[in-house]
């Protein structure tokens, strides 16, 4: 077996970077939800795919630029996120049970998607679906580049909010010691609803990225669960930049493993890292 050329390795690493960015973007919402709200939200993947299909529908039949669909998708999913958190809060669902309850919700969403769009493969033919930019010897596909840009922008935005705004600091305080945060005026319930809405909106954005870069089929949503959770845990719960960095690390190592060894070995990277992390690192991620 010949060792791949430098160009091939670089191209692999680059595609790993892009897919890693999407892992990070998906992971951002999961990480915020788990770290700050103590809700393990499997429905995040359902929402992302639902948003992807919505984007496909609007951009495809409406001939609208896919990125413009964000104007509708972001507020819609924000509202959905608020609704889900309201339900979970009302029934005082524990973190483990939230995993199960959101799994049920995901199954419902999957069925809904399949009912409307069938299980056939759907590919959004957008203006930049096939476009590539050439950088030296490497090709940079435009949809993936859009994803990377969005992932970077949103991760840093969330980081800025958490670190520099009053509300962001209030959220971090709530996650650490909710009763004392309340004692200083932070409204725990309202904050939770708001944050859940934001996480769902982030899922919506990830969905649009999925739509422009991938072929869609409903059962695919589960394929992302394992890898994204690995990125979330590696990056640290409640972190804004963590999932992105971890996602990219995972994406690049998977891609390089695929290039050097064989594509079928690549899943082992993220999951082995996850297992080792769980066993060896003190405290929760």
């Amino acid at each position: 077996m010949t060792f791949p050329s430098a160009t091939l390795l670089a191209q692999s690493a680059l595609s790993g970077l892009f897919i890693g960015a999407l892992y990070g973007l998906l992971g951002l919402g999961v990480s915020l939800s788990w770290g700050l709200l103590h809700v393990i939200n499997l429905a995040h993947f359902g929402f992302a795919f639902l948003a992807a299909y919505l984007c496909y529908q609007l951009a495809g039949t409406g001939h609208v630029d896919p990125l413009l669909t964000l104007a509708l998708i972001v507020p819609t999913f924000f509202a959905l996120g608020v609704l889900v958190q309201w339900l979970l809060g009302r029934f005082r669902v524990t973190p483990l049970n939230s995993l199960l309850a959101t799994f049920g919700l995901t199954a419902i969403i999957e069925a809904f998607i399949q009912w409307i769009w069938t299980a056939d493969f759907r590919r959004l033919e957008s203006s930049y679906a096939g476009e590539k930019i050439r950088v030296g010897a490497l090709f940079v596909p435009v949809p993936e580049l859009v994803t990377l840009v969005l992932a970077l922008a949103l991760s840093f935005m969330v980081y800025a909010v958490l670190r520099h705004t009053d509300w962001g600091k209030a959220l971090r305080a709530l996650a650490e010691d909710a009763p004392i945060a309340s004692a200083f005026g932070v409204n725990a319930k309202a904050s939770a609803l708001l944050l859940s809405g934001v996480c769902a909106a982030l899922a919506g954005v990830a969905g649009v990225c999925l739509a422009i870069g991938f072929t869609l089929t409903p059962a695919q949503m589960y394929a992302w669960v394992g890898v994204v959770f690995a990125a979330v845990m590696l990056g640290g719960l409640g972190s804004a930049i963590g999932p992105l960095v971890a996602g990219i690390v995972i994406g690049v190592s998977e891609a390089l493993t695929a290039a050097v060894a064989s594509p079928s070995w690549s899943p082992i990277v993220s999951f082995t890292l996850l297992i080792l992390l769980l066993l060896l690192r003190p405290g929760k991620a």
Binding site: I40, L87, F91, V93, P95, L96, N97, L99, L100, A101, F103, G104, L105, T106, A107, I108, I109, E110, A111, F112, Q114, W115, Y222, V225, G226, F229, A230, M233, S262, S264, W265, P267, I268, F271, T272, L274, I275, L278, L279, P282, G283, K284
Partner: protein, 553 residues
């Protein structure tokens, strides 16, 4: 075996139901009973599938022989994983779920990339099927029936046995269970091994049923999530819960698929899970409590404390005990001797180290340095359940009863896992005796949540005493009680001493500490400050300063 003579279609359907009954019930053995939710059941199922596929498909081993092998491989895998993971204290709850999910994908990748599968999958259509029934569907039905019967029988047996009690205690409060004498590591490992082995066997049968296996079809997320769904729906605490859940979901899914509404079926299942978590988190059978047996006549006598030393001999000797938490020295070279048959009172200002002392002696925490000699044995580095077996029991300042076990089961647990290792009947009889001693006999079959604070404290007391400990550590057992209840408790504590148990009593209530204990020890800043009778000690200048500050001395 019941051979119904059904047409192949029904036999196949029944096979499917029984197949899921096995998977869900086996999952529940560890995960439902003990609360260690695994998302990796698919890994062990898959291990069984591929063991049979390799042995029967590649090496021509007769099919029926591959089934025990499939079970063994899966069980070994489970034991290997559990041996590592159960040692890591913080991997519980959601983290355990994620870790087991990750294991599934790692195993799938390994299998897909090695000659076991290698990618294209394994064909098993050429493997001869034993003719246990006139047609293949019937054979599979009978195999699944046998496996399902075995699995359910095991689930029932475990539920009634010491292991089941241990798992339920672990579910409610693993650390308290360990301190009460339950060997938590071994119990979890045993349940996990059984759980995985049964899943492996089910996998072995399934391999031939589908006759063509690929890693994608075997190791996907369906199996782990479905078994969780079925068990949660049916009720994870009941031995028949997962079976009921499996039946309901399989029938439901089938009904929708047959009516050409598979998609709606999927949505319906999701809705059912969501509704179950929100409205019936205990599951359909979760509300079922075992029939309230009439409270039996208390016939047992109190078993004597084993190996009692002569009165006054040193029973517990603590030397140079040290324990720090994140830089704070809770115990700073503490020396103490407790004599057989005495009631020793321990007092001290807030933060002086009293509770830490109890926690270290009972094994809840490991000491950083120092020695704890109990009746000649060194305890300082033993796991908590061995300390409990050695004859030390404790109560908790904020009561920690096992919330889902009845009052009687709470007490019988320590009797079953204590030094004497009593059988179920004897342990329950002893338990009743101790409930009578503490005045709770009439509440034997209620859940601890239905007791008030006073009764809960007495439950803690009965639970501590049921293992016939030589030494019992009472951590603020009187706090929160009304004056009349306190007098009752004091009388009880005296009777406990009269029965042969030595007592260490940590308390703040000074009016009790001046009358009840034989001797008082004052602890301040992790060390013994003074010892003697209450009157002498509490009048000493340094003790007064420790409590009230300098000006009052």
């Amino acid at each position: 075996m019941p051979w119904l003579g059904l047409p192949p279609f029904y036999a196949s359907f029944l096979y499917l139901v029984l197949h899921w009954v096995v998977l869900a019930t086996s999952w529940n053995l560890l995960c439902g009973y003990s609360g260690y939710f695994s998302f990796g059941h698919g890994a062990f199922f898959g291990a069984g599938v591929y063991t049979t596929a390799t042995l029967a498909g590649t090496w021509d081993v007769p099919f029926l022989w591959t089934l025990p092998a499939a079970a063994a491989v899966a069980a070994l895998l489970g034991v290997a994983l559990g041996a590592v993971v159960f040692r890591v204290r913080r991997v519980r709850g959601e983290l355990f779920a994620l870790l087991t999910l990750a294991v599934t994908f790692v195993l799938a990748t390994v299998i897909a990339n090695t000659p076991i599968d290698g990618g294209p999958g394994v064909y098993l259509s050429a493997v001869p099927l034993p003719t246990l029934a006139p047609d293949p569907a019937g054979t599979f039905y009978l195999l699944a029936l046998a496996l399902a019967t075995l699995t359910i029988a095991l689930a029932y047996a475990i539920r009634r046995a010491r292991l089941g009690l241990a798992l339920f205690a672990i579910h409610d409060d693993e650390d308290a269970a360990e301190v009460m004498g339950v060997p938590t590591y071994r119990c979890k490992l045993a349940a996990f091994a059984l759980s995985c082995g049964l899943a492996g066997a089910a996998g072995g049968v399934q391999a031939l049923f589908v006759s063509y296996v690929t890693t994608g079809s075997v190791f996907n997320i369906t199996v782990p999530l479905t078994v969780v769904l079925m068990s949660v729906l049916g009720g994870t605490r009941h031995w028949a819960g997962p079976a009921l859940g499996a039946l309901v979901i399989t029938v439901l899914l089938y009904a929708f698929t047959a009516a050409d509404q598979a998609i709606v079926g999927k949505a319906a299942v999701g809705a059912v899970l969501l509704a179950a978590i929100l409205f019936v988190p205990d599951g359909l059978l979760g509300r079922l409590r075992p029939r309230k047996r009439p409270v039996a006549e208390v016939t047992a006598d109190i078993v004597a404390v084993p190996h009692a030393l002569p009165a006054g001999a040193p029973l517990l000797r603590v030397t140079g005990l040290r324990k720090s938490f994140r830089g704070v020295r809770a115990l700073d070279g503490l020396d103490l001797v407790v004599h057989q048959g005495e009631i020793l009172g321990i007092v001290g200002p807030n933060g002086s180290g009293k509770s830490t002392l109890i926690n270290v002696v009972s094994g809840h925490y490991r000491a950083d340095a120092g020695s704890i000699q109990f009746a000649g044995r060194e305890l300082a580095h033993l796991p908590a359940h061995r300390i409990a077996r050695g004859g030390i029991a404790r109560t908790y300042q904020i009561p920690r009863p096992f919330a889902h076990l009845s009052v009687l089961d709470n007490v019988a647990l320590t009797a079953r896992f204590g030094e004497a290792r009593l059988s179920r009947e004897v342990a329950e009889a002893q338990g009743l005796r101790w409930l009578q001693f503490t005045g709770l006999a009439a509440r034997a079959h209620v859940l601890p949540g239905e007791l008030n604070l006073h009764q809960t404290k007495f439950l803690e007391l009965a639970r501590a005493l049921a293992s016939r400990p030589r030494l019992v550590l009472l951590d603020e057992v009187l706090s929160g009680l009304a004056p009349a209840e306190i007098d009752e408790a004091i009388a009880l504590i005296r009777r406990i001493r009269d029965q042969g148990t030595t007592i260490i009593l940590v308390e703040h209530l000074m009016r009790v500490m001046t009358t009840l204990p034989d001797r008082i020890v004052v602890i301040d800043q992790g060390r013994v400050l003074a010892q003697g009778s209450a009157r002498e000690v509490m009048a000493r200048g340094d003790v007064v300063t420790a409590y009230l500050g300098a000006a009052h001395a």
